[in-house]
Assembly symmetry: C2
Homo-oligomer: 113 residues x 2
């Protein structure tokens, strides 16, 4: 665990959002990870569900970037990022991510709207 | 619930942080509310614990202000704010708050550090 920087994983995650390397993005997650995006919606659970979800993004998202502070512990971190949609729209999102001892994301909750 | 704007409660919360009106601040919370500040620390539970916790802030905090996006559902919201400490230090914090049907805060989790 000492060698794992989960904030680096977050930077990789944001850089990969909407890019064609969907498998590489989902590799950042643990096998049984959960995604709640947006918060309040039904949980997506596990690799197949995540591949499907993140696989829809390249058509909608041009790029994303960290756009504000990041804070928390080594294993639970909140951060701000901006999504630039293909149509030009910008969305400000706050994500909360939890990580396991291997530095894999175990849960992601996205606060927006 | 329709008449309750929990985002207004958040603005009141941030405006009251570090001010002498500690009871007014704690009145924003439900009686059995939990506070985890920072995330990963022991939960503070209930009105007495919150009065004690927020009662320490006026000595340390000059003022706080909303300083970034706010997002989520009607009942679970993440937001950015900046704390201006009495010594001049600034801290960027992301809070996640949950609310009950009466618009009272049931949990606060503070991501910083």
């Amino acid at each position: 665990m000492a060698d794992v920087d989960n904030r680096d994983a977050i930077r990789q995650y944001v850089a990969l959002l909407g890019q064609p390397e969907v498998e590489q993005l989902v590799d950042l997650f643990a096998d049984d990870a959960t995604v709640e995006d947006p918060v309040g919606s039904e949980l997506r659970v596990g690799r197949e569900a995540l591949l499907e979800f993140y696989g829809t993004l390249p058509d909608m998202v041009d790029r994303a970037e960290i756009s504000g502070p990041m804070g928390g512990t080594d294993t639970e971190i909140a951060f701000n990022f901006t999504v630039h949609a293909t149509g030009g729209l910008e969305m400000q999102i706050i994500d909360v991510m939890a990580f396991d001892d291997d530095g894999k994301i175990t849960s992601m909750r996205a606060f927006w709207g």
